[in-house]
């Protein structure tokens, strides 16, 4: 399969992720969508790596996976802490800071 098929999938997943971030209300779902985005980028990197014939992309992806995991941990920690205070993770309600 050509490079562009992978890119296509990556972009589709990316778009779905973006769509999710915009539409979803649950904090957890939004975090999942962010994972989708990072994942699509990883897919890109790996696809390019294979296409370009060097492994830099894979190295990059490796870093990226590690970082994504860490990020997820932080994100969920924040969500849990917030839930403890506010009793909700519905982001529509988390808007004391505005204007």
């Amino acid at each position: 399969m050509g490079l562009y098929s992978y890119l296509l999938i990556s972009i589709i997943i990316f778009t779905i992720g973006v769509y999710g971030i915009i539409t979803q209300r649950s904090g957890i779902k939004i975090l999942m969508c962010i994972e989708l985005l990072l994942n699509s980028a990883n897919l890109n990197l790996v696809a390019f790596s294979s296409y370009n014939g060097n492994s830099t992309g894979q190295v990059f992806a490796l870093f990226s996976i590690a970082i994504a995991a860490a990020e997820a941990a932080i994100g969920f920690a924040i969500l849990v802490a917030l839930f403890r205070l506010r009793d909700t993770i519905n982001l529509d309600n988390i808007n004391i800071l505005r204007w």
Binding site: N52, I74, L82
Partner: protein
Amino acid sequence: MSLNINFAMLAPEILLTVLAFVIIIMGLLISNKSKNMLGYLSAAGILASLVYVIGNGMTEKVSYFYDSLVVDPLSQVFKLIFLIVSLIAVIASIEYFKDNRNQDEYYALILMSTVGMMVVASANDLIALFVGFELASMSTYVLAGFEKNNPSSLEAALKYFIIGSLSSALMLFGMSLIYGITSTTNIPGIIEFFRSAPLMAESSLGVLAMIFLVAGFGFKMALVPFHMWAPDTYEGSPSVVSSLLAAGSKKMGFVAAFRVLVLALVAIRADVHFTFAILAIITMTYGNVVAVSQRSIKRMLAYSSIAQAGYIALAFVVTTPMSIAGGILLALGHALMKGGAFIAVAVVGYMVLSDNKNAKNIDDLENFAGLGKRAPITALGFFVFFLALAGIPPSAGFIGKLFLFYSITVQAISLSSSWLLLVVVIAILNSALSIYYYARVIKYMYVLPPKGERIKEPTAYVVAILIAVIGTIGIGLYPEPFINMAMNAAQVLGV
């Protein structure tokens, strides 16, 4: 490159990383009471790094780790910025987080975020850049939400985190595209590639990559429309963290943009200038116009910070050495001014809370009434920072704006370009508009009667504010070395 490489130029980063771990370990070992000393320890570490950075030449260029990190004038200038900001923030935190159980984590995180920023400043490879970026970001996500029992703080952290992650993802996506096009992640390599194959930059992928990168960096810089998190986060976070975010973390976006955009992409596409002009104009206008109607000072500072980002972004509008130098100078100035200003807000918070334990909206404009009497040094600090932010000489803000406006005027004249001229005019009008809201606070501080007794300003805050004040005015009065530094840094970019 052999293994016995000399890490001397990376000593600050190494020192701070080690220090971060030491602090965490010490935090486990020592009692809660004695954790207050950790602040001094980290301040000392940062100060040492700062001295090291200043002392160890700004001119020579050294690269490390297979050319993924470089130490050159550009990186040094920004390291200087980051270290100063951290120093201010840490010194202020000694008071702000006094007797907090989690101080060890706090200082470790600050140090880690500083290291992350410094890595970005030195990054010569997209991977290093991304890692540094994320290191700094993730530390600051946590820092923003460090007041676990404060809903505002957590909300700030959450918003910061979500938009930050989104931007990271965009940035990563952009980087992946660049890697795809150029098959390298080394920045000089990328530049070389685009130089030799300019058509690739014009391709859809190239443009897309560029856009994603701008979005990613724009998030950090708080450029409109990637700024949405900034007011909420700056308002909600602890003031010392806001200081770090606005003054330090923001500049990370700029240094990344200088490194990547200016060299790799901007130079080969004319309409990038135009795009940045639009972004810069929208950003500064938006920031200033909305700041006018704010009553929360932190929020006002946040919008002012957005506006300042717009000014700094003018550096990308023409990308001449002069403009880059101006951007760097204003970034330096802004770090001092905005960093100091947020610390000063912390003093106001301290003051208000000492009046009334359960006070809400501690950074409301009303609480600034008579600040000149209640907390003279803080008020003086605000006064200096505000005037500097408005670009009144002699101050760092003036010098920075001077270079930026100058570079654009010159370009407008030499290209006989009317839209560039328009950009300057709008920038000037913005600059004037900004006086309105700064002056309003100054009025509250000095004109209105105080609402309480004079307070004793905590020493840590005073020191932090004074460092910023001296820096702000010092650069204004004796800008020569800083100008040279900025010009050298701009030379590195070879524009």
